[in-house]
Amino acid sequence: MPKKKKEWIAMLLAGGQGSRLCSLTGKIAKSAVKFGGKYRIIDFTLTNCVNSGIDTVGVLTQYQPHLLNEYLGTGVPWDLDRMWGGLKILPPYQRQHGADWYRSTANAIYQNIDFINRYDPDYVIILSGDHIYRMDYRKMLEYHKEKNSDCTIAVLDVPLSEAGRFGIMSTDNDGRIIKFTEKPKIPESTKASMGIYIFGKDKLISYLEADDADAESSNDFGKNVIPSILAAGEKLYAYEFEGYWKDVGTVSSLWEANMDMLGPDPKLNLNDKDWSIYSRQDSRPPQHIGRLAVVENSVVTEGCEIYGSVINCVLGSGVRVMSGARVRDSVLMDDVLISEGARVDCAIVDTGAVVGAGARVGAVRDESIPLSDVPVTVVGSEVILPSGCEVTPYEKLVMV
């Protein structure tokens, strides 16, 4: 196998804790959280890489990596088990002169400059493992080359009312970024950064080195590196992405993104054969829908057994909904058991949790409230709710 230089490689930031996902990330990294019945959040970004022809992906891990490491393995499910390149897990490591945790996004990449240099790529694309979207990065790379850009940032047009939550770009008519403000109080534009950057390798390395040398810097791409590149007068361009994109960093956004899979014309359509999402799966028997079951407007996967009523739900593998149980507007992760007569509304029930007979979780969805404002109840992984208990909306349960 010739060890040829690569045109581009991806660096995927997957070390985040995702503290706003509460108990869902108590024991696993944010990018390993289950999504859409069969997937984990990181599958979307990895699939984008593979479908964009990127064959070398460094995955930077730090927080609770065991499940993520096992899940990624040698990268087989994404066709990334390669002799030269492929998927490589990059945890923090010890050097000749000391050792350090990944302190921030830019610092994590900085600590892996040797990895990048090994493949001598012309370009490096920086990604994060906690967004749900389908994107062909090749188009962004073409744009980057066409503009002869030093750094290209993918942006999404967001409603003005939400712009304050993002890094906002102001551009000239050519798409060149003239101003970048992280979470502005009064947004000047609606072009929000998606946290996807393409750099020329040499530019990236020189700015990372400069950033690391700056004692004042908090070593964050959005806060420090991008503003300093802009201040230096380099060419930064905004690449406008159109399509579905969601940061699933909070309980309600995770729930909402799952709900986006439902309906006759879903915002997030995973049945597109030209862009299948790849994931690692166990062998489970087919799903069984019982005689008195009701399953409507829901997605259900392998190993599920449904005897009760499931409406507007996303079910992970091995979920059992017993007779007389009613589940609505909810996300049930793997191996959840909803016992006889239990009711679950507007909830995320994490892996292996048991809702006892006749228990009541969450409140009936008020159809007048928009999806993003629905109060979502979380039942943590392996939690066992006793029969007849009640869990009110917004309550967060963790395993003690």
Binding site: K38, P286, H288, A293, E296, S298, E302
Partner: protein, 380 residues
């Protein structure tokens, strides 16, 4: 585990010509997401066997695609793993045995080198016509403990259940489980309350098996069961291992249909898929979860991933990526992968092979005793 596996992928192909026209018996789709070879392979792997030869002689494209590198059964190994054994003709002895083998014995003769190169003490021979989840470690344990030359896995069945018996090999044992006789199923057997039949899963000591093969070549024998085993029952130690779990032989389209719908019985699923530490493994396909649309109704059915259900599905087995359109009614059917059922179509007791298209409003029906079969890629 001190054993290697040997799977016969083509034996019994002729019993279901409808399904084996373009594939081996081993790659006949079954139970929403499996192929028959999955049961044989999973049984071997769950017993800790990591070297499996798969004998195949024709129609094996679908089998090779399904097996791939063996990764999905954890059989992608540096040492052992899956070895596909297609027919080959050597440069020196190519005329007399140049034809593709047709019997078990001819197949065994062809793979003698695989057997003799195995370092394992025992060889597990398995066909693909039986659906079961069996503890082969226990079979091997008994085989060794009793110092057997040859062990045949058997199942006691009632001849009254008609689909269990055609083409079965009936085994007669003494009280100690030693095999006295074996013969084809006859009308005499049908009068008995219970008979013991071979499950076509056997364990042989490697050197004993090689001796049998060598002997068969020397004498020009043809039938493994009758010429070889039959003649040696008195001299050598042949014992029966009685399987107590679920057993279903697939020996006709009718029995295929019956076995498929049997999966709707929770006790059958429990005995086949619910045994701890003995999962049935299969090739992993990247299918999205199945979508049940508003207005759909699914009753007592098994469904694989990747489907979109808008109509009614009742008492049916639905494979991956099947579409059932609005207002369509599917009852007592087996719909294989990528079947498309158009709006308002009505199907009753129909078995569709893969990639079948049933156009809008078509009405097709078979009967519980004889399903209506639609071949691969046909559109109605």
């Amino acid at each position: 585990m001190n054993a290697a596996g040997l799977i016969f992928s083509n034996i019994h192909d002729t019993t279901i010509p409808e399904l084996t026209r373009t594939r081996t018996m081993a790659s006949v789709p079954f139970g929403c997401r499996y192929r028959l070879v999955d049961f044989a392979l999973s049984n071997l792997v769950n017993a800790g066997i990591t070297k499996v030869g798969i004998i195949t002689h024709n129609n094996y494209k679908s089998l090779l695609e399904h097996l791939g590198s063996g990764r999905d059964w954890d059989l992608e190994r540096e040492f052992g793993g899956i070895k596909i054994l297609p027919p080959h003709i050597t440069s020196y002895e190519n005329t007399t045995r140049g034809q593709v083998y047709s019997s078990r014995l001819e197949a065994l003769i062809a793979v003698t080198s695989f057997i003799s190169e195995c370092g394992e003490e025992n060889i597990v021979l398995s066909d693909c016509d039986v659906i079961c989840n069996i503890d082969l470690a226990d079979v091997l344990d008994m085989h060794s403990r009793r110092g057997a030359d040859f062990t045949i896995v058997t199942k006691r069945v009632s001849p009254a259940v008609r689909y269990l018996t055609p083409r079965a090999t009936v085994i007669l044992t003494d009280g100690d489980g030693r095999i006295n006789d074996l013969a084809e199923y006859t009308s005499e057997d049908s009068k008995k309350a219970e008979i013991e039949v071979s499950m076509n899963i056997m364990v042989a000591r490697k050197y004993y098996l090689l001796k049998l093969i060598e002997d068969a070549v020397a004498h020009g024998h043809i039938s493994f069961e009758h010429d070889i085993i039959g003649r040696r029952l008195g001299e050598d130690k042949f014992i029966a291992y009685r399987h107590e779990g679920y057993y279903a032989p697939v020996n006709s389209l009718e029995s295929y249909y019956r076995c498929s719908l049997d999966l709707l019985d929770p006790s059958v699923r429990r005995r086949l898929f619910g045994i701890p530490d003995r999962p049935v493994m299969t090739r992993h396909k990247n299918l999205p979860p199945t979508k049940y649309m508003t207005g759909s109704r699914v009753v007592n059915s098994l469904v694989a991933d990747g489907c979109v259900i808008e109509g009614l599905v009742e008492n049916s087995i639905v494979f991956g990526s099947v579409k059932v359109g609005r207002g369509a009614e599917v009852r007592n059917c087996v719909l294989m992968g990528d079947t498309y059922v158009g709006e308002g179509a009505e199907l009753y007791c129909v078995v569709t092979d893969r990639n079948v298209i049933i156009r809008e409003g078509r009405r097709l029906s078979g009967h519980e005793t004889l399903p209506f079969f639609i071949g691969k890629g046909v559109s109605v």
